[in-house]
């Protein structure tokens, strides 16, 4: 009883301070943040959930927030995630950190959350609803840097095989656009084949194996992550020379690359987003709840691995996982400042 009275007095005092000075920080120790995640079925998402767990458990233990519970829908379904958001509104969360199944189709639910006074921070899979915050990945850039690298590596050009992600998902479309732009920039490269690998090694392997017999010599494979190892296996099984395959930071891909590097000096690069971006979104949400003025659109840097830092990254990546970075409050502030 006495404690709660004290807390009430304190919060009154802090409100008064805030009104007075306009700079004092509001307390977020009684705030509840939920993670609404649309998919958990691949290594990237598993790493993401693990990072979320590590960082938010510490934050809860430190009394920074009261609660940070993750929620996941089973199969990347818009309808389920929309219903999930409705339920989180009802559950009384102060902020929802969101990796969305669709950039548009969740807008109805997101708007409803905003109207209920809930802070919505979307990341990775962002939403277009204006009332939400967005921590976006420049996916098109992720496609383009692959061509930049290839241009450097093989200025003479050559045939490319493109492995795309899940059809109809905007991430796939964005990376594809970046690759298209890159090919336009360096016309010595030509995409001779394109398959959908669904960001899954087994699917990619099957798809590449299916198209390989119809292809001329392939100089390089441009990818979206989670498909490089499968592609390498398909080339090997078909008895064709291994082209330069761009990797996507998955452990199996990095391990394969290391093996090839040690055996025959194989060179490539690897690029993807660190799953820990969820923790960045967590800190951004905490800062917004704290009363900080945060711009609605932020950009998160992607994680690139090159020949030089391969070993270091591989050593830090668990088997079946993805190269990762967990973010701290200072990183969030840097991203916020950069967006101003």
């Amino acid at each position: 009883m006495r404690a709660s009275l004290k807390k009430a007095l304190l919060s009154m005092a802090s409100t008064a301070l805030m009104l007075g000075a306009g700079v004092a920080e509001a307390d977020t120790s009684d705030k509840k943040i939920a993670l609404s995640n649309n998919y958990a079925g691949n290594s990237w998402r598993q790493s993401m959930l693990k990072s979320w767990d590590t960082v938010t458990k510490q934050a809860v233990a430190d009394g920074i927030v009261a609660e940070a519970t993750p929620f996941t829908t089973s199969e990347n379904q818009v309808t389920e995630q929309a219903a999930q958001i409705q339920n989180l509104i009802l559950q009384g969360y102060d902020a929802i950190v969101l990796n969305a199944a669709s950039p548009d189709a969740l807008n109805g639910a997101v708007k409803e959350a905003c109207d209920a006074g809930i802070v919505v921070v979307s990341f990775d899979g962002i939403v277009t609803e204006p009332c939400a915050w967005r921590i976006a990945v420049d996916f098109a850039k992720m496609g383009e840097v692959q061509l930049d690298y290839l241009n450097e590596k093989m200025p003479q050009g050559g045939n490319l095989l493109e492995i795309r992600g899940l059809a109809g998902v905007f991430v796939d479309d964005e990376i594809h656009k970046g690759i298209e732009a890159g090919v336009k920039k360096y016309p010595q490269f030509k995409v001779v084949g394109s398959v959908h690998g669904d960001w899954t090694q087994t699917v990619a392997q099957k798809a590449v194996a299916g198209i390989l017999p119809s292809l001329p010599e392939v100089a390089a494979v441009v990818t979206q992550g989670g498909d490089g190892y499968g592609a390498a296996q398909a080339f090997k099984a078909a008895g064709r020379p291994t082209p330069l395959i761009i990797m996507g930071n998955r452990q199996d891909e990095l391990a394969w690359w290391k093996e090839q590097k040690d055996a025959n000096g194989y060179e490539t690069m690897s690029v993807s987003i660190a799953p820990g971006v969820a923790t960045l979104a967590f800190w951004v949400a905490q800062q917004i709840l704290d009363g900080k003025d945060v711009p609605k659109d932020m950009i998160v840097p992607f994680l690139r691995i090159d020949q030089g830092n391969l070993e270091e990254n591989l050593a830090n990546t668990e088997s079946g996982s993805v190269a990762n970075v967990e973010y701290a409050l200072e990183d969030a502030n840097k991203v916020i400042e950069a967006a101003r």
Binding site: N37, A40, L49, T69, P70, F71, T72, T73, S74, E75, N76, Q77, V78, T79, E80, A82, A83, Q84, Q86, N87, L88, I89, L90, Q91, G92, A101, S102, P103, D104, A105, L106, N107, G108, A109, K111, E112, A167, G168, V169, F170, D173
Partner: protein, 324 residues
């Protein structure tokens, strides 16, 4: 207390309660009540107009899809394409409904007609419905992705307004679900042609001998399914405010689960429209229940299946007693 002390009408009532047929019919409603009570116990905020409105909003398009599936199940077929079809409807409506409403209605009517055509194909060529509809699901999804390679599109204001309408006293989703159940019930259970339709699933030969065209019956069932699929798609984009080709992939399995949960059977024309809608609502609430329980994400997926299995196991138990 011995039997002789109980008055006979009371004993009759108790006997009636133990009647397996009644139990089987009551099971969907009982499961719904159980899950509602559990939700109210965990989260008292849910027990309000706004709470029910929020929780049940997404039950409306699922109820439409479930009724669509039920029509197909009535004639002993299974529709594996309804989810993709609802997604296609969403994309079509999101592309044209605002700018060219007449054209859009015509295209949607064409969609219903092609559903009927699929029914005719299955009937005339004696193809297994599972194979044909599975194939069609790729066709629907393909067209939807071509139409809308990236999510986007616009939804008319009247549709958004209707789906977020807040009538006095009773939340809109409950009104809508009751209306859907009632219309389907009258159509299939009360009308005389409805009896013929169900009979086609129960004993096709008898219906055929009685002079009814089985082809026409199957075509009308598929057309009805297509029509309710269109309604599902429209109500869905009214909620999401934006379509997406993959928006309703999940509806195929949800709709089958809804019909079965609501007391329907895979064969024999044994279906219940009211039960199906209750099944759809129960499935929607299961999601809410698991979220309010704060089950860890690793378990949430499995837990949803577990709820289904429990209800079906109960039904199997009742059936066992029925058989005795």
């Amino acid at each position: 207390m011995t039997d002789s002390v109980l008055s006979s009408p009371l004993r009759d009532r108790i006997d009636m309660l133990r009647d397996p047929r009644l139990l089987r019919r009551a099971l969907p409603a009982v499961s719904l009540a159980a899950i509602l009570i559990a939700i109210f116990l965990i989260n008292d905020r849910a027990m309000s107009y706004r709470g029910l409105d929020l929780m049940l909003k997404y039950a409306v398009p699922i109820a439409f899809a479930t009724i669509a599936q039920m029509f197909i199940l009535t004639v002993n077929d299974l529709d594996l394409s309804i989810g993709a079809f609802v997604g296609l409807v969403a994309c079509i409506a999101g592309t044209w409904l605002v700018d060219q409403p007449v054209l859009c209605v015509l295209i949607l009517a064409g969609c219903v007609a092609s559903y009927a055509a699929v029914g005719a194909l299955i009937h005339v060529r004696r193809l297994p419905s599972i194979v044909v509809t599975l194939g069609m699901s790729f066709v629907w999804l393909g067209i939807a992705v071509i139409l809308m390679p990236t999510p986007g599109g616009t939804v008319p204001e009247w549709l958004k307004g209707l789906m977020s309408w807040k009538p006095p006293l009773i939340p809109f989703p409950i009104v809508a679900c009751a209306a859907i159940a009632l219309v389907a019930h009258v159509l299939l259970m009360e009308s005389s042609y409805g009896a013929v339709l169900r009979g086609a699933g129960g004993n096709a030969t008898a219906i055929d001998r009685a002079g009814w065209s089985l082809l026409r019956i199957r075509m009308s069932m598929y057309a009805l399914a297509g029509f309710f699929g269109v309604l599902s798609g429209l109500s869905l984009i009214g909620l999401t405010t934006s379509p997406d080709a993959h928006i309703a992939d999940r509806y195929t399995l949800l709709s089958i689960a809804g019909v079965i949960l609501g007391g329907g059977e895979f064969v024999g024309g044994r279906v219940s429209p009211i039960g199906a809608v209750i099944g759809a609502v129960t499935l929607t609430l299961t999601g809410s229940f698991l979220i309010f329980m704060r089950i860890s994400p690793d378990w949430q997926i499995g837990a949803q299946g577990a709820v289904l299995i429990v209800v079906l196991a109960l039904r199997a138990l009742i059936k066992l007693r029925e058989g005795r």
